[in-house]
């Protein structure tokens, strides 16, 4: 299973990486390219990745399927792939057939479905944060000013250390929520809230540093950075805003009170 899933991750990374790099920045896809690209995505079966095997999926565990969602965040493409994955899963859960073609928006979600979607967004954010970190490292190593690479300036090094630390923390929180949900039982909702609170904050800090270090170049629409930063600014507040999730966590902590606090930390 591990071999199969790692082959799947590699194929997905190759396909989505290719589609992501070839997508135009600053203009829409042609109808022809849009249809052709989606066909490649469907041929790999990605739209049903979150569907259980019995209902037509390919038998990935949910945690493994969420790794694919993370790869989707790592390689942003101009198709609503994650939305479609979620729509197909929700359709399968209610006994309906997978949806035709890309699904743009999800509506009328049950609380449970919204939680699944919120976790999917966290994993997308984890992937996109990775991409932003890599882009920023490459940029400061290549870009020369004052006769040396930006990476050689200590102020730049320290900004990047902050970026990397935030990315690491956001990802750790998202990974933990996926693991917590796989364990089953109570606590998964709290773990998702924690993940959304922490990774939402990581997005704010990481996008600020990434734009600062990319300079004016990264603010131009033709640069790919904005595909990631603008997506993060949307995702962090979807399926429950960051403040909504954060407040849910705080409400639970304050309802439990002083003496329950530390035991709550060690089971979270």
């Amino acid at each position: 299973m591990d071999d199969i899933s790692s082959i799947l991750y590699e194929s997905a990374q190759r396909l989505l990486g290719d589609l992501s790099e070839r997508a135009p920045t600053g203009r829409a896809l042609t109808d022809e390219d849009r249809a052709a690209g989606w066909q490649r995505i469907e041929e790999m079966g990605l739209p049903v990745a979150l569907v259980s095997e019995g209902a037509g999926g390919f038998g990935l565990s949910e945690a493994d399927a969420f790794r694919l969602v993370r790869i989707c965040g790592r390689n942003i493409v101009p198709w609503p792939l994650v939305e479609t994955m979620l729509a197909n899963r929700f359709a399968a859960e209610s006994g309906s057939e997978p949806r035709e073609g890309p699904v743009e928006t999800l509506s009328d979600l049950t609380p449970g479905q919204r939680e699944t979607a919120a976790l999917a967004r966290a994993m997308q954010m984890a992937g996109a944060l990775d991409a932003i970190l890599d882009m920023t490292i490459s940029h400061v190593q290549e870009r020369q000013q004052f006769g040396r690479a930006l990476a050689k300036f200590q102020a730049v090094q320290h900004s990047l250390a902050i970026l990397a630390s935030e990315v690491a923390a956001g990802q750790a929180a998202a990974d933990h929520a996926v693991a917590r949900r796989a364990q089953g039982g109570e606590g998964a909702t709290l773990a998702i809230g924690i993940a959304r609170a922490r990774i939402g904050e990581a997005c704010s800090k990481a996008t600020a540093v990434a734009h600062q270090l990319h300079g004016a170049m990264g603010y131009a629409q033709e640069h790919r950075l904005h595909l990631y930063t603008t997506s993060l600014w949307k995702w962090r507040d979807e399926f429950g805003t960051q403040v909504w999730w954060t407040r849910q966590v705080g409400r639970e902590v304050l309802a439990s009170g002083r003496d329950a606090f530390w035991p709550m930390v060690t089971v979270a």
Binding site: L160, A173, V249, V253, L254
Partner: protein
């Protein structure tokens, strides 16, 4: 960036049984400790408490039994450490020895050194201090000027000054990092570690340095023609730098790097308990999310240590994020609760807030400054 991935901690029932035992022990042993005393975190010093920990088998936990250890896993040790810190137990009399001096001895010590000292540490009966910083060697540790010279009879003559030596005035031993050959310009080359008996070495003077609160934890330790026996060398002569970096990895990797302000968070939650205020719920939700995430990352560092991997950069990330979290807490607390900070206050919140505010500047200095840690992270990213 897989280098930023923190492995998931291994959970098992044994660690949770141990956790319950530690909680019961602490509830009995430190019941009378006030919140303000608990806020001292790992600065609270009580030899009797450390001996009680030793009797329970909770010191030197991962070491071989032949040296007084208990051959338990790094995770079991982690449970004991985090529970004692979260409870604000007075751990200082065993803290440094159990965390870094013991492991350094185990790794580099001679058989005689290990047999003589490790069982005493595991019994909670041996206090260590750290001999790294100097007046002109703070973050730049390789600038050490303290020098030990080999005498004709094999003994070592030491001259120099160590600084910021926490509990040097209580310590039984110091692991001294110093130059044993060559000029200061040699930097990392020609340095070694030596074991100093703090109670029985003529020529060693310990002077107090009071911190901003007027408390005495730090010291200046002066060596003037102090003579150490020939068997005082710890590890390999000339390998001091590599050894001291290994020692720092132990020093930077634990949960103490984000739990220093935990008592203030506990008092804050106590004060805001049941609040329906959006600001209070959101702020506490944020702090809780940070804390839980830091804990998972820190346990990931313990997993790396267990797997024999180098956790340097992971530990640096946890310590840097952790210190920021600890230091942000006082200002967040005072933005939510309308109470004057006051060490003498009968309000636990007000007293702990006053204490933690004054303790906070040290959080991003001790054990490697924020700037040093960010340099380590940047190097790992390939920027330096």
């Amino acid at each position: 960036m897989t280098l930023l991935t923190f492995p998931a901690p291994v959970e098992n029932e044994a660690t949770e049984i141990l956790r319950a035992e530690v909680r019961t022990f602490l509830a009995e042993t430190i019941a009378t400790r006030t919140p303000l005393e608990r806020a001292e975190s790992w600065n609270g010093f009580d030899r009797e408490f450390s001996r009680a920990m030793g009797r329970r088998g909770w010191l030197g936990m991962t070491w071989p039994k032949e040296y007084g250890g208990h051959e338990r896993s790094a995770f079991e040790r982690y449970v004991v450490v985090e529970e004692t810190l979260a409870a604000g137990a007075p751990v200082a009399a065993h803290w440094i020895a159990d965390r870094q001096s013991g492991p350094t001895l185990l790794r580099h010590g001679t058989e005689a050194q290990k047999r003589a000292i490790l069982p005493r540490i595991a019994a909670g009966d041996c206090v260590f201090c750290i001999g790294m910083s100097e007046p002109d060697a703070g973050s730049d540790l390789a600038a050490t000027r303290t020098r030990a010279e080999r005498q004709g009879d094999g003994s070592w003559k030491v001259n120099g000054t160590k600084l910021w030596t926490t509990y040097g005035h209580e310590a039984d031993y110091m692991i001294l990092f110093c130059r044993t050959s060559g000029p200061p310009a040699d930097r990392h080359k020609g340095t070694s570690q030596l074991l100093v008996d703090m109670k029985a070495t003529p020529g060693v003077t310990v002077r107090p340095i009071y911190d901003v609160m007027g408390q005495h934890h730090f010291n200046e330790v002066h060596f003037e023609d102090a003579v150490l026996p020939s068997d005082a060398l710890l590890g390999t002569e000339g390998q001091g730098w590599a050894q001291v970096m290994g020692e720092l990895a132990y020093e930077r990797s634990g949960p103490e790097r984000f739990l220093s302000s935990i008592q203030l968070l506990i008092e804050l939650i106590g004060t805001l308990q049941g609040s329906e205020s959006v600001a209070a719920q959101t702020a506490v939700g944020r702090l809780f999310s940070h804390l839980v995430t830091l804990r998972h990352m820190s346990r990931g560092v313990a997993a790396l240590l267990d797997a024999g991997e180098d956790p340097t950069v992971h530990a640096a990330i946890v310590k840097d994020l952790g210190a920021t979290f600890e230091q942000d807490l006082p200002d967040i607390a005072r933005s939510l609760v309308d109470e004057e900070p006051d060490l003498q206050s009968t309000s636990d919140f007000a007293a702990v807030l006053a204490y933690t505010t004054m303790a906070a500047p040290a959080f991003s200095l001790r054990g490697g400054t924020r700037e040093i840690l960010r340099g380590i992270i940047a190097r790992q990213l390939g920027l330096r």
